[in-house]
Amino acid sequence: MSDLWQIEFMRNTLVSAAILGPVCAFLGVFVTLRGMAFFSDALAHAAVTGVALGYLLQEISPLTVSPMLFVFAFSAALATLMAWLFEKTKLRPDTIIAFSFTGSVALGYVIISALGKYRLIDAILFGSIYANSTRDIFIQLALAVTVSGVLLWNLKALALGILQPDLARVQGVRLERLNYLFALLLAAMVTICLKMLGALLLSALIVIPPAAARLAVGNFKRLLALAPVVGLLAAVSGVLLSFTLNSPTGPTIVLVNVSVLLVFLPLRLARRGAR
């Protein structure tokens, strides 16, 4: 373990996993309780278009802007659009997510193929966690603190919005504004985590730890406490395991998360049987 810590890219990877694992799980508690698991998946896949637009701009203008800024801008725009469509149309959320998801991936692929940058696809879909720099880690830390802070500051409003939306409105909570804020937080988180797991697997980091924790505990505060612990342990042990087994890191992290979920499953079944 101490040997691994001496290797800079491993150190950065472990620190990155230790930062992003818990905060994704914390955010994921609200994502899963709000029924937005597929929403986060759609945003992750929209990153394909964000990256493609970034490279397109580099091709057609002398400006050098990080493609990640485009990923965030496109994810945020798509998140806002989907949140607006949820509010204003009678279409079911899964329908809105499905056409936003497929439409954005199609657009991204068309741009990437026009640019001839097919090799980008692999990096976007599966991530490259070992490419984390110290600067990346500071950005991840800043985002983790911001996301956690905003969630804690709005904890009561978010919980009320999930459990009793009418009561939330009676208490003066502006649910529509809160929904947009939440969608933006999710877009920011997706952008930063893209490097770690890639678009294909990213939502696992957000969805599986709270799902596993929910199998083990029966109330909201314990869920808020346990999910980040699961997220932390699964992300860090996934990195270590992938190094030991020489397996791809992103998929290994996901498989560790799924294993934790399967371990917690008997707890749930036992509790149900006891009632």
């Binding site: 009561k156 919980a159 409105r169 009676v170 208490q171």
Partner: protein, 237 residues
């Protein structure tokens, strides 16, 4: 009761859906202090819409809701229909209750908040429910918890939307006694909507028949015996 001052005046209230159709048409109603007023009527009659307009959740196309002195939206407790709440969510009774406490930014439900919530549960003989998950409650227990939550806002007016839906016979009987107790011992004014005419007959001081517009208003026996109402339910009331 007939000479009691009003708690709430609803004047010429018209509420329209997005497509322009009327949910409520020129509804005028005075709710008296300390009474239990029951709204009855078929599905889609506008009962929940009327409540949501009183609570400020729905904007009327015309008309107004005027609270009397000492009454306001801030002192109105609201228990929505049970179907509006997902009881499979991982919340404990105490968490659900403390979310009802007004004017607190941070919410962790411990210490003083827990004591306040526990006091309301004890008032309703429900202290033993405090640490259970909401998914573990029966329909009657759940309504009791929801009412305790509404009481945490120290209301003068309590609105109960379909309180006996999904509640078994024993639970409904408990609710009947509880609603009367809240009027008599806590001096609450109660508005409730229900399809359960037995409950309405037992607890209501007055009954308002609503079908987008008011189709009957008066003492329970008088309104429930109305031939027009019998037509709604196609049976002898």
């Amino acid at each position: 009761m007939s000479g009691s001052p009003s708690a709430l005046e609803i004047r010429n209230l018209t509420v329209r859906y997005g497509d322009g159709g009327a949910a409520l048409e020129q509804v005028s109603l005075s709710v008296r202090r300390g009474e239990i007023l029951a709204l009855i009527g078929p599905n889609g009659a506008g009962k929940s819409t009327l409540f949501k307009t009183v609570l400020g959740l729905v904007k009327p196309a015309s008309g107004e809701v005027v609270f009397a002195e000492h009454f306001s939206r801030a002192t109105t407790g609201y228990v929505p229909q049970m179907a509006a709440l997902d009881r499979n969510l991982p919340f404990s009774v105490m968490e659900l209750l403390t979310l009802n406490l007004p004017r607190q930014r941070f919410w962790f439900g411990g210490g003083a908040h827990r004591q306040r919530a526990l006091a309301k549960l004890e008032l309703l003989d429900g202290a033993k429910l405090a640490d259970r998950g909401i998914h573990e409650l029966s329909g009657g227990e759940f309504q009791k918890v929801m009412i305790a939550g509404a009481l945490l806002r120290n209301p003068r007016l309590l609105i109960l939307d379909e309180p006996s839906t999904g509640v078994d016979h024993a639970g409904t009987h408990m609710l009947e006694r509880l609603i009367i107790r809240l009027r008599d011992e806590e001096a609450l004014t109660v508005m409730l909507a229900s399809h359960d005419l037995h409950l309405v007959q037992l607890v209501a001081d007055r009954v308002c028949c609503l079908n987008r517009e008011i189709c009957g208003l008066g003492p329970a026996d008088e309104v429930l015996d109305n031939h027009y109402l019998k037509g709604f339910w196609h049976r002898k009331l």
